[in-house]
Symmetry: C2
Subunit: 395 residues, 2 copies
């Protein structure tokens, strides 16, 4: 066979998100795109903020000499300094450019981190429901993903984590605001998690790294702020991108930030810069680095997403679905009225509504709805949700 055993195996397990995407593409061909209500993908419908377009025009009209050349693998010093400045403001912790490495999106950032820190068979703990690519990323670098449960509010269960951490645990990966649940972890939870990890570090005499995957940090609702992770645990890093807050997912621009108080941080950061190069990313795309430099305090309209959330969430509750109102992100993760979430998602397909079964995220019995879609799609889906609710006598 041409394709390696490992890749073949993981291709076969496949991705439920992609499978729905493909079934959706077929339906779209059959019925016309405007008759399909596709809530399966996290591909933000909004355009980047007006400031982005201004900055792009400005740079296109006044190109900087050498602005498309290689730069240091960690990224432009000006961009890293701008990220550090904004992060310091938000976090109340003093970051410098040396704490920041620009990357090809959060996916690039997370692969760089895992490549740097994982020895063969080191464990990385994740929590279900989880972003399914985590499994691939951990596997890419020889790690073992250990999946732990969350509670009814989709918050990691600390009692289970307490029992699960062992001598092989290298990192705990959390994702708040959470894809697919929309949960935002509280200050109190982060503090308890930090204490638990500190105790385990002492017990095992090694550093345990908390990786915070935060591409949705700015997408939180009801006037809340996403709690900062830094003060609660020294060995904290974040991986993130501008895919959601600036609506640039196709551009692959993100960064790694390392807690200035992290023990032996110089060694770690040198490792990140090295792996950013040797994994073949080389550097984050140059033009995007120039652009996001002056857009660190800009975000797309969160109110717009909140409106969409409310329309959908109110409707689902009204017709009898059991759903936690998301505090952030543009996803919700209702209980599947059928035990078999795949069967249920197929019921919705009958009404040309595309969603993703929960087992794609390690949580069977749920399904994910993505509401970063235009209003026509969102409103068009409501009838389908109602019809299926009627069929299963939810109201």
């Amino acid at each position: 066979m041409l394709v390696s055993d490992r890749v073949q195996k993981s291709m076969k397990q496949g991705s439920w998100i992609r499978r729905m995407f493909e079934e959706g593409a077929e339906l779209k061909q059959q019925y016309g795109e405007e008759n399909i209500f596709d809530l399966s993908l996290g591909n933000p419908i909004m355009e980047p903020p007006v400031e982005f377009h201004q900055e792009l025009r400005r740079l296109a009209e006044n190109p900087l000499p050498g602005m498309h050349r290689y730069m240091e693998n960690a990224g432009y010093t000006e961009t890293r300094a701008a990220v550090a400045k904004q992060l310091s403001l938000e976090a109340g912790v003093n970051f410098t450019m040396n704490d920041i490495i620009m990357t090809c999106g959060a996916a690039g950032a997370l692969n760089v981190v895992l490549k740097t820190i994982l020895n063969e068979e080191d464990e990385v703990i994740i929590f279900a429901p989880y972003f399914p690519e985590y499994i691939n990323y951990i596997d890419n670098h020889g790690g073992i993903g250990k999946v732990l449960p969350t509670d009814e509010q989709f918050v990691p269960r600390l009692d289970v984590l307490e029992a699960a951490i062992g001598a092989k645990t290298r990192a705990v990966l959390i994702n708040s605001p959470n894809n697919p649940s929309g949960a935002v972890y509280s200050e109190d939870f982060l503090h308890q998690l930090g204490e638990l990890l500190s105790n385990k570090e002492t017990k095992y005499g090694k550093q345990i790294i908390r990786i915070n995957d935060e591409p949705y940090r700015k997408i939180v609702y009801d006037g809340q702020q996403c709690p900062q992770v830094w003060s609660h645990y020294r060995q904290s890093i974040i991986v993130t991108s501008h895919s959601k807050d600036l609506a640039l997912p196709g551009e692959r621009i993100g960064y790694i930030a390392v807690n200035p108080g992290f023990g032996q941080r110089k060694e770690l950061i040198d490792g990140f810069i090295y792996c950013n190069r040797t994994l073949g990313y080389v550097n984050a795309p140059a033009l995007m680095q120039h652009l996001v430099r002056s857009l660190q305090d800009v975000t797309i309209s969160v109110a717009e997403y909140q409106r969409k959330r409310d329309v959908l969430c109110d409707h689902l509750s009204e017709v009898g679905y059991s759903v936690m109102k998301p505090q952030g992100t543009f996803y919700m993760f209702p209980k599947s009225p059928l035990e078999d979430d795949i069967a249920f998602v197929r019921e919705l397909l009958e009404w040309r509504v595309l969603t993703v079964p929960g087992r794609g995220f390690g949580s069977p019995g749920y399904f994910r709805i993505s509401f970063c879609v235009d209003d026509r799609t969102l409103e068009g889906s409501l009838a389908g949700f109602r019809k299926v609710a009627q069929k299963f006598k939810l109201y």
Copy 2:
């Protein structure tokens, strides 16, 4: 330790190119940038062609709806079709968009290919002198790099290759036009190589993949064309980028192209698309995909590089260095007048000329000069080369 054993080990072995970069940065601080003649990096000094700037302005002023969103992981169909069209014209082979996958540069492309095809301990054959990152890329995906010699003209020795291919050989990686030697492999050589590989396929009953790393394909001199690889071997793919031909190295835009006649190509291409996603590249940067679509027949001024080559090559020959005139790329790879190439490179440093010792490319006894620099740097270096030649009585 925080950094994995494997990464630590390979960081210690380090990169000679980077080491020279760092020594150079120190010298620049000490003496001022204008007094250092840095010929160590392949960072093209030229700006992208005027057509690129026009296209960027046009797109900035008339943004397409959704032009920064996710697209299919293989890239925009329009971009892939444009690449296929140009490649068909150049190669006389009929490519379609289905043979093309857009990637984050050639480095991204090569990592995707290796991830897809390598089982643990599969061998990839490379030839010294080689681009040093090959070692890292092969190692990233569990492969074993097997380094074979080239002849006096830096062309792979087929007799040695014949003896070296075995049951574990998965791929042969060639790089023409070659970094660091500037060699361009002839039609005749490619044909013989194809025959050799076909025989080995029959012998071992398995496909052996020829990977052609071709970012310098358009940078060839004296009115020559770079011979096309396609007709000489079915199991051929190329990995390449627009880093050099459009002077966009910081933008990370490249592609994989698969020979339309490749056996079981659908399986292979699906694997590439999958690994492009799961390695965390996700897709090639969106804006660059839009831009290069209409620039497939555009190239920076090769004449300008040829002029620089001639100035430097003539001078080196005149003062007694033994150097093969590069037929392509913007590198040359002279013999080190001292057996110890590191000692020799340090002699040049005394005259503030930065080059890279040949052992960084697997070929001790040589050194690499990069001439993609401005004329001031190039001309400023000539005195240093002469002084050192005098010291060692080369003329």
